[in-house]
Subunit: 350 residues, 2 copies
DNA sequence: CTTGGCACTTGCGTTTCCCGAGTGCCAGCC
DNA sequence: GGCTGGCACTCGGGAAACGCAAGTGCCAAG
């Protein structure tokens, strides 16, 4: 999943104990002591021996004791080691597979709505907060444009993309144009730019503008002017969220104030977007633990994410946000599966 | 705001004390005792006299004591009396007016987005959760329809309403139709139905179906078939929410569990819609207090709502949800203002 | 290297105690 | 008759005291 980094040398036994400890802590949420570990590790060692190992793990910074006489708890570094080299993921449950397949089947649902479904699925299946970035439309190929007069100087532009996604935009002209003129302009735009992506078009427009405007016919000029208005304020990348309520479960343990920060981060979505953007480049499932995100609000949270593709290009990222002690072995395959099926559905539309 | 109901006879003094008590409790959130009231009511009475009055108010069920030796707290009935006959609302703050005006200015924003802005405004100005029902499209007059082929049997239908709202729907045909055929069908639909509302159209379609199908030309048949698909699954009434995070503030006082129920209600939105539907008929600002909503989840909440109009018909309801002890005198005018401006903007589009 | 033993630490739940705020009622006063 | 001060009473909640259970580190012996 992630290339094995240069990790501190840990013998078999220490690794195994760390693994059991993390699993226990994830399951119960309570510090794990040597006694428990002696009983459940299957190693047939006395608590005292375990304590020695735990002392080593602690000095390596992989675990910590909340206070003198409590068990040990994994540190972020400990989680990191756990997910990087100790984690054994199980295949996703039958039921989960079925539900994701049903939800993400290609039935003409627009991409935006599809992303919404994905975020809901993630949230429900993992009982965490689901999060999906909506693809930027800038690199999506454009199939067709329609321009409709809306009474007065108002015009409705309808952009249809190759994948069936539709965007509308209403704007005003200086002077009203009759429907036929609009139709002509639309035809011209279609002819000139169909099949290109918005990014490309913007460049091309600029180039044409550079050329002497005089050489262009009026219609072309009108078309360009219109196209410009159409593109400004096109909704950029955004984040869809679902199931924030699941965060209530574990945040209740922490302070109300921490929870408030979290909810604010969810409302702003910018910080989250920042984290997500960083894993666009990566292949497959990525895991962010605690402060690794660099944002205070996500301090005691982990994110499990995976990019999804369309036309061989990464167009978005999806995943979940939850407490650091989430059940990674269950969550990782679900995120992976969702990303795969999302990719499949988007590509089936060519 | 609300017709003065037949209220229990309360002399001037009792009313005044109740008013001060409710205001105090709204401000501080703590039970109010006779001593405080004696000091701040401006009545120049001793605590003992106040206690007598309070005892009366309690026996009328307007206030209650959380326990023997705490001050008094308004009951839902007390709040009801307060908002019905004691509440003095102040005009909305200058700043609030400015912001609502700026946010709801008619600049071609689609109705849905406008509703979103309204809910955000409500949430920010009141520091409560904002809520806006999105108008059903069934009664909106339909201006124009476009049909575009999307490759294969897929068709994109674009419905444009009189107010500039646009809806898209993708569906599949049994067999692909060429663009020209689609255009002809669209033209036919436009000619037959433009200016009617969806409700009307559905009725008309049924009527035509009743007539001998044989007498219709093939094109008309195709048009009807298409129209049917277009209308199924049209998004019904929905609720937009913003600022749920503000609920964290006061729910923190109650149990975490109560808060969870609240958030679930917010996610489901159905219960809230139920309450909102009930005040469609009413004129002006309405206030729901506590259990009056009939829904457990909204137990300790109040809703302040007001309907907004388009074309002289109520098309939606907006308002806020917050703790029963919200600052009604500040909230009511804000909700009122927002509803008025929303109405104004929708009507400016004719 | 492992283990049992042991003294020590510490959070947490219980119990106890005390205090302050507020009440209801009563008798006296205007 | 209504208002007031006085007084005994009741709670809730915070502080202190206490014991308990869990867990640790260290050491000496196997």
């Amino acid at each position: 999943m992630v290339p094995p980094a240069a990790e501190p040398a840990l013998n078999e036994r220490a690794q195994h104990l760390l693994k059991v400890l993390v699993q226990r802590y994830i399951r119960d949420g309570e510090p794990v002591g040597s006694r428990t570990l002696a009983r459940d590790s299957g190693l047939d060692l006395s608590p005292a021996s375990i304590r020695n190992v735990l002392a080593d793990l602690e000095s390596l910074g992989l675990i910590a004791a909340p206070h003198t006489s409590a068990g040990r708890v994994p540190t972020p570094k400990g989680y990191r080691f756990f997910v990087d080299t100790l984690l054994t993921i199980r295949p996703p449950e039958r039921d989960a597979v079925r539900r994701v397949e049903a939800g993400l089947r290609d039935d003409g649902t627009p991409t935006l709505a599809l992303a919404g479904v994905a975020s809901l699925l993630l949230s429900e299946l993992t009982q965490l907060a689901g999060v999906v970035t909506v693809p930027k439309r800038e690199h999506a190929a454009w199939r067709q444009i329609e321009l409709l007069p809306l009474g007065g100087p108002r015009v409705l532009a309808i952009l249809v993309f190759q994948d069936g996604e539709v965007q509308n935009k209403v704007f005003e002209l200086e002077r009203p144009l009759p429907a036929e003129a609009l139709a002509r302009i639309a035809a011209q735009l279609n002819e000139t730019f169909a099949g290109r992506d918005l990014h490309e078009i913007r460049g091309k427009l600029l180039a044409e503008m550079q050329q002497a405007r005089a050489t262009m016919n009026e219609q072309m000029l009108a078309a360009i002017g219109m196209a410009e208005r159409m593109f400004v304020g096109a909704p950029g990348e955004q984040v869809l969220l679902a199931g924030e309520k699941h965060l209530l479960d574990f945040s209740a343990l922490g302070s109300i104030d921490k929870m408030r920060r979290l909810f604010e981060a969810f409302e702003q979505k910018r910080e989250i977007l920042g984290v997500l953007d960083r894993c666009v480049a990566a292949e497959g499932v990525q895991i962010f633990i605690g402060e690794e995100s660099g944002y205070r609000a996500l301090d005691e949270c982990s994110m499990v994410t995976a990019p999804y593709h369309a036309d061989g290009r990464v167009v978005g990222v999806l995943g979940v946000i939850g407490p650091t002690r989430m059940a990674y072995d269950r969550v990782v395959p679900i995120v992976d599966l969702t990303a795969r099926l999302m990719t499949a559905t988007l590509n089936s539309r060519r």
